[in-house]
Subunit: 432 residues, 2 copies
């Protein structure tokens, strides 16, 4: 019998608890599938006295009992946020321990440094759980799709916002009401900003973009925009036009450049991604050989995320057993550079309120015409009452053909300055 | 520089051509990603003189030039059907060569024998391309989902039949017309029986079932039924009831037993699987940790299938480089036994033509009631003209709640024998 892989676990939140439980409850089946037992040797948590499914004798409150224990082979890091997770991951690697982490913020901000530190120490770092919960996402990029040049990645990788958008689309809820419901159900945190502002998705796209395009990506390279400005009217109009609204994380490669962006997006109802509802996640990838492909499942929660963490542990244990826990990571390729959001070419949905005067529509179309932006479709509704004191406006919704982001932003500023325009309601990018 | 992995390719159909092209055109990028070059050393084909994208000097017409060449490390087998592919795969393994195959029939019929032969010779056998084209399907079962107990697999794994069913659903086509269109587009073969009778899906489910439930499965263990008996009326009624009709390959584990079955299935329109249209494939899996998960993409064609074949080659090349090309395969677990189709419990859709006599519905419901089968919903349409000479009938459609297959089959025989019933139109299982 091979000797056990000895695991130190950092963090006992819902995912940490689920991982500890899986390692303990499934010990026999995992041992059979791996060929060696897993030993959960020590679990570090900051908060004492909570009810735990982990035996008291395994708990410790001094992280040195894990990081400085020479008998621990593998540190599983499941802490929230950047600190002290980043420092602990580095210390574990420096001590020659393998690391499995589910920490998207650490991997997004420090991925290249951590990968090169692991390579230097000839230890392994795995992070399947950092994006898409239990959906195999990292693995496919690292192996299954490796024969492909990836043109595009489009992903719904934040369950909280997808739940909110689904509620807004199906029940006509306001953003505030849908958010409150998400909070009541435990899908959103008390401070929901990381989710609703697109920051969580930005971290995850940093990781996906790096893998898909074989390049160094920092969160600063990713444009991000949240969902809090969306109104129930946008969902009604989108449906009328045959679209769903999703918070998409998009990475696209074109002419040697890659643009990475997170923002609300109109997506044709017939696309598989448009059908991903509630807290579910999906990652759609287009490769030169494989064509379009999509992975779908639960992107968060103890069970799904523990599925990914334990898969990483199994992989490491199997490779340890074969004597090759460490494999030289592929180098970054210098095929692409990061391109500015200004250069994105996409369609746009524009909703605005105008004083109901003859000629307003001519003025708007003249601005767009001068910018060489062509209109794909128009909806004009009367009798919208808005403002304080209430005034009656005409609501104008139009969709443009593909145009350059900077051009469109300039045109929208010019439209907002028209005397006949009361205000811009929404500007949402459209994926065709 | 590490020495190249030397590849002998068997078969130059669309997939073989795409694999040869990828290895040759992507040589630099693959070498960088692997850490060693791939060398396409010899390509065997039976048919001379066809236009090839492969250099003439690589072609051979005597298979011994590959199977008996001690310098070839890896045989990539991409031949159609069972013979001579099975014999060649065995010979390659016996000669100590690794094998990558896309051959579902060989793996379904001889998988356990081939896996144990590979283990005995300490060489590797990979078969990602045998199910779902370029969609990573085998990989997830072998690693990413390995921490899970799988409860259920439901898959659309035959693009030809999914195309035909999509045409029937969206254009009201007859089976014959939709098949003719599939043939005209090159999606169906001149002899379409392996696809439309469910045999191709049966082979693929044999492979998936074996991986999902960690057991030996033979094609004889898989119940299969094709799509040729479906009528346009079934698609109309299904839609009226809120369902799509798909040819599903289903594996379910319950109470120590596994049932594997391929048949047309009514699936709620709101399910992701119901939205998989045209030639696309999808595999939905439910695991105890991960919950529901789905993989979607093109299940056939040179490009997608070559993506999977080359991924298998990359994996092998990387492990060769690390000195661990061969890893002991996990043993079959004896958790489950194969259970008979008779014991399946599912819902049923029954369409029948009845002489429009008072009392016919009462007779039908009495038969069902005596068998303790409860009815979930009923549609009764008048004025259907059928038979020779034409007679006017009432078309009765009903859906039952879950009941045992054998019970339902008995009830349907009794209903068919009722004097007021002209004929049974369709009996289709329903997934809830």
């Amino acid at each position: 019998m091979a000797r056990p892989l000895r695991i130190g676990l950092l963090g006992l939140g819902p995912v940490g608890m689920a991982v500890a439980k899986a390692i303990q409850d499934k010990d026999k089946v995992l041992e059979r599938r791996i060929g060696a037992p897993l030993e959960l040797r020590r679990v570090w948590t900051r908060t004492r006295g909570l009810p735990r499914s982990v035996d008291d004798s395994l708990l410790c409150y001094d992280v040195e009992e894990i990081l400085s224990d020479p008998e621990i082979d593998l540190v599983v890091e499941l802490l929230p946020g950047e600190h002290p997770a980043y420092e602990y991951v580095k210390r574990a690697l420096l001590a020659g321990k393998h690391v499995v982490t589910g920490n998207k913020e650490v991997m997004a901000k420090h991925g290249p440094e951590i990968l090169s530190l692991a390579a230097e120490k000839h230890v392994d770092i795995s992070f399947e759980a950092s994006v898409g919960g239990g959906i195999p996402v990292i693995g496919p990029f690292k192996l299954d799709l490796l024969a492909n040049e990836i043109h595009r990645v489009r992903a719904i990788i934040n369950g909280t916002t997808n739940f909110i958008l689904t509620q807004m689309a199906s029940h006509g809820s306001s953003f505030e009401d849908a958010l409150a419901e998400a909070q009541a159900l435990g899908y959103a945190e008390a401070d929901p900003s990381k989710d609703v502002d697109g920051i969580d998705a930005m971290f995850k796209l940093t990781i996906l973009g790096s893998l898909a395009f074989h390049m160094r990506v920092s969160p600063d390279d990713v444009y991000h925009e949240g969902i809090s400005a969306l109104a129930p009217a946008d969902f009604r109009y989108a449906r009328e036009l045959g679209y769903a609204i999703k918070l998409l994380a998009i990475g696209e490669a074109e002419d040697g450049g890659v643009v990475l962006r997170v923002h609300p997006t109109l997506l044709r109802e017939t696309e598989m991604l448009a059908k991903v509802d509630g807290v579910f996640n999906a990652v759609a990838v287009e490769g030169d050989l494989v064509g379009p492909i999509l992975f779908y499942g639960r992107g968060a929660g103890g069970g799904p995320t523990s599925s990914a963490v334990v898969a990483d542990i199994i992989d490491l244990a199997q490779r340890s057993l074969a004597g090759t826990a460490w494999v030289a990571p592929p180098a970054f390729e210098d095929t692409y550079s990061i391109r500015s959001m200004d250069d994105v070419r996409t369609g746009y949905y524009l909703r605005l309120l105008a004083y109901d005067r003859p000629g307003v529509f001519a003025q708007i179309t003249r601005v767009l015409g001068e910018a060489e932006i062509s209109i794909a479709s128009v909806i004009q509704k009367e009798n919208v009452v808005d403002g304080q004191p209430p005034v009656e406006y005409a609501e104008v919704v139009l969709m443009t053909h593909r145009t350059r982001e900077a051009t469109m932003q300039g045109a929208v500023r010019a439209i907002a300055a028209l005397p006949s325009v009361f205000k811009i309601g929404s500007l949402i990018r459209v994926e065709e």
